[in-house]
């Protein structure tokens, strides 16, 4: 015979003695105490039901639309938290473009250096605008390099910037540590802002969390209006009020701007896109304004915003400034009466009205908004701007009717699948089959109770997991029953066969459970909510089946055949 080495040290208690001592003596003449086993089983049953009931009550209490006197059915319906795929909702993964935040930081630093240079009488000539890594200064014969070096050292925060002096161009760049800190701050701030906006939307049980370094996961159950939510969450909401240059346009094309300014714009001006509207044809054509780079006020100076009406009684957004903002705004408008002021939202000019007189603390954003759009913008302005633009990496929206359909079909499949298993088991095993069915029902109750207790989410694949659990849990009973039959075929008395069957099948049952649970454990590491929901149901269901098939089934056998010392036949 080929040399096979199989371990003898690791078999379970159940098989080891049997192997060593050959045919077992007929032990179970002494009944194991039934009392505590019944108590434990009933306690688990009661605990599961109570957990489910309690969660259902809690959910109803939180739900604003719960009926005043919830019926038993209402409570049962609310025991499990449904996943987005069943109750409908939106799952979004957004990426924060942290380079935006870095660019702002670099631009601020550059402005600061410039201001400081003016104060100290040093000339600095920036090479283009700042980018995400920093900014550059042009150096020529007239530059007072020692003074500039000193300026950069003292004007910029210490330990944040590197200056590399390379001939005619000095590059001032962010240190890595500082860059990471700014990126981290930007993502955190974005999470906060999104949270504020979602709270303002009034979504029940939203999930907003950071994923990896620069991603935000947003899950909004029950939201059935993806377009609006995406708009509210994704809008940067950066409001800037900037003066329009005297020759500021609007121009029909960027080329026209360049031509008007003789080839190059002065460094303190910028081109911003806007649109001109033909309300008859309902079309918008892009136009280009030339604005002062410096903002008069920004969204940070806002105190409040609300939906108002423009002069044509179209919805518009009114905003109110805080004290500091009002001072700046009053000052700027007072000095620039007759000039135009551009209202720039997310780098697009919304409108550029002429300043008729000094304005202190209020303004209006017009843009031919719909009521919904005006409301969304109000919400966005109130929650503050995002520190950087966000792009959507993943979007999954499920409408409520598809979710309802899924529930209906999933529940039907579960009921039919369970009934099929029940009928087949009883037909095949008779009374023992009834025993198995009771164990399976208890298994299902424990599964539901445990899921309610840990507040796990039921998803569509989770329903499939539930059905599979029933099919797989019956395996433990089959293993035991087949073993009992085998022992009886081998000449054991029925009562002994039962105990031996349970003992000898136990090791195998542990093995089969460990393998399936181990394989499903990898599902936790992987995939989105629905897949995880599947893993949760499967793992809890299988763990519960260890208890029901081994412990409860055995107890049921003992209850049926226990009191009699001599059992002639068993129904299996």
């Amino acid at each position: 015979m080929p040399g096979v080495s199989l371990g003898t040290g690791c078999e379970t208690e159940a098989t080891a003695p049997a192997v060593r001592s050959g045919p077992r003596p007929e032990v179970p003449s002494v009944q194991k105490p039934l009392g505590w086993r019944i108590a434990l089983t009933l306690a688990v049953l009661a605990g599961s039901l109570a957990a489910y009931w309690w969660r259902g009550q809690e959910a109803l209490k939180k739900s604003p639309l719960a009926p005043p006197n919830p019926s038993v059915g209402d409570v049962l319906k609310n025991g499990l938290k449904l996943g987005l795929d069943l109750r409908g909702g939106i799952h979004l993964v957004m990426q924060v473009k942290t380079s935006d935040a870095l660019r702002v930081e670099a631009q601020d630093a550059l402005e600061h250096v410039r201001d400081e240079a003016g104060r100290r009488g040093v000339t600095v000539t920036p090479v283009g605008p700042a980018d995400a890594s920093g900014f550059a200064l042009a150096i020529d014969e007239k530059t007072d390099t020692p003074k500039l070096r000193d300026l950069l050292k003292t004007a910029l925060p210490p330990n944040a910037w590197d200056v590399s002096e390379r001939g005619r161009e000095w590059r001032v760049s962010l240190k890595d540590v500082e860059r990471l800190a700014i990126e981290d701050q930007a993502v955190r701030q974005a999470v906060e802002t999104v949270r504020n906006r979602v709270d303002a939307l009034g979504v029940a049980e939203p999930f907003i969390g950071r994923q990896g370094t620069d991603r935000i996961l947003i899950q909004l159950p029950g939201v059935d209006d993806p377009a609006r939510v995406k708009e509210i969450i994704g809008t940067t909401g950066l409001l800037e009020l900037k003066l329009v240059d005297d020759r500021g346009g609007p121009y029909p094309a960027r080329d026209a701007v360049t031509a008007a300014y003789g080839g190059a714009l002065p460094a303190d001006l910028m081109v911003v896109e806007g649109f001109s509207e033909d309300s008859e044809a309902r079309t918008r054509t892009p136009v280009y304004y030339v604005l002062k780079r410096a903002s008069v006020i920004t969204g940070r100076d806002l105190k409040n915003a609300r939906v108002g009406r423009d002069k044509f009684n179209q919805p518009a957004v009114e905003f109110f400034l805080n004290a500091a903002g009002a001072v700046k705004f009053g000052d700027a408008t007072g000095r620039n009466v007759g000039k135009r002021l551009a209202i720039v939202l997310d780098n697009r000019v919304q409108s550029a009205p002429v300043i008729n007189s000094q304005i202190k603390d209020t303004g209006i954003i017009e843009g031919n908004f719909t009521l919904e759009r005006a409301e969304a913008l109000t919400l966005v302005l109130k929650s503050g701007a995002l520190p950087a633009e966000m792009i959507s990496l993943e979007e999954r929206t499920v409408g409520p009717s598809l979710g309802l359909d899924s529930i209906r079909q999933g529940v039907l499949a579960a009921v039919v699948g369970m009934l099929l298993v029940f009928v087949a088991t009883v037909l095949y095993y008779r009374l023992a089959g009834v025993n198995a069915v009771l164990a399976l029902i208890l298994n299902a109750i424990i599964l539901l109770g445990a899921m309610a207790w840990i507040n796990a989410t039921l998803t569509l694949p989770g329903i499939a997991g539930f059905i599979l659990t029933i099919g797989m849990a019956v395996d433990s009973n089959v293993l035991i029953f087949e073993r009992i039959r085998e022992e009886m075929d081998g000449g054991k008395a029925p009562r002994a066969a039962i105990d031996l069957g349970f003992k000898r099948a136990f090791g195998t049952i542990v093995d089969t459970h460990v393998t399936t649970i181990a394989a499903s454990a990898f599902l936790f590491q992987f995939g989105t909510g629905p897949v995880r929901g599947f893993a949760v149901t499967l793992v809890i269901g299988l763990a519960a089946s260890m208890f029901t098939a081994v412990f409860v089934s055995h107890l049921l056998f003992d209850l049926i055949y226990g009191p009699k010392q001599k059992v002639e036949t068993i129904s299996i």
Binding site: V4, L371, S392, S401, P461, G471, D475, Q525, L538
Partner: protein, 409 residues
Amino acid sequence: MRFLKNPSFDFLRIKWHAIGVSIVLILIGTISLIAKGGPRLGIDFTGGAQLLYAFSSKPDENAIRKIVEGSGIKLEGVQRFDKPEKNQVLLRIPMEQKEGRDLSGEVTRGLSKALFPEGTKPGTFDLNLNGADVLLARLLAEDPEKLASRPSLDPKTEYQKTTQAIIAARSRQGLFRSVDEAGKVPGVSPAVADWLKEKTVAGPFTMLQAENVGPQVGRDLRRQGLWAIALSWAAMLAYVAVRFRSVSFGSAAVVAIIHDTWVTLGICSILNVEISLTVVAAFLTLIGYSMNDTVVVYDRIRENLQKTRKKPLAQIVNESINQTLSRTILTSGLTLLVVVALFFLSGEVLRPFSFVMLVGMIVGVYSSVFIAAPIVIVWEDWKATRAAKKPAPAPAEPNGKGKAAAKSR
């Protein structure tokens, strides 16, 4: 009731036939996989978008294709989904290099503009395209029941009830065919019904589902999925190797689950089943389930080996398969019952998942009986031949052990 009483089939005699069948299955699957350039991955893994719409009457796929492509969106496919009477259409949009485009919004607006222009006029409100929040905001703003003049009632609570009733009714029936249907929903007051009639419209379609996965996320999920499967294989190998203290058992078990995964994947490829996240979940479950069956047989082999070391291994293996056979048939039969229920009843969304479970479960049972245990024999035979320093090719006497087992009975 009993299907089999003391079965004594000689499984090992046909082990080479079985291995041959498996090799053929694997080859056919592999050829299909190569010919089609790999498994047909869904948007979860490739990136791209899928939009599912329901229409109030039979949709015209060609017209929809024209509208969507006319608005500058590439389409990979327009197909009917689920039962024909549900009037559902699934649009597949290939991956875009640029992330962050609001495809669902663009397509919905495009369809709305072309199929129902009166619904896109400013100020019009399409009941089938807007959600509860927006409807509530409208009701609050326009206050058709004049609740503002009745201080005893909180307008927000009252209109929230109305809104929920309307949206719940829409969810139950899919979409409203007319605004009258919305007005007749129980809980909607005559004043609101009049307002609905006057101020809202019921467009011809509604969006059921939108999935838009960017290339980055697709790449991440692809990597994670492959890792999950490979790690689960490794975990199974480790478990069996430790539990049975035997490399040959461990390796044979893993060969069996790789076999199951591969054959199932091949069948998916032949039948063009799309591999999505949930399908990968099905694969992982199968790996566990197939391992289940294999472990039951192995446990019995070990037990029988401990009882007697006199019989040849091949005979013990064959007897063990036979002893566990009725359990194998019964368990897989019962599990198949639920998987069949799942396949036929749980709906179109879960169909690929339940299909993979169905196929994989059959393959898994087959491999536990015909592949996992025989491979142990083949392996041990091969080791024995090598130990005897015979220069013969790996399988020395393909049928020898099987015959011995047969004779001994």
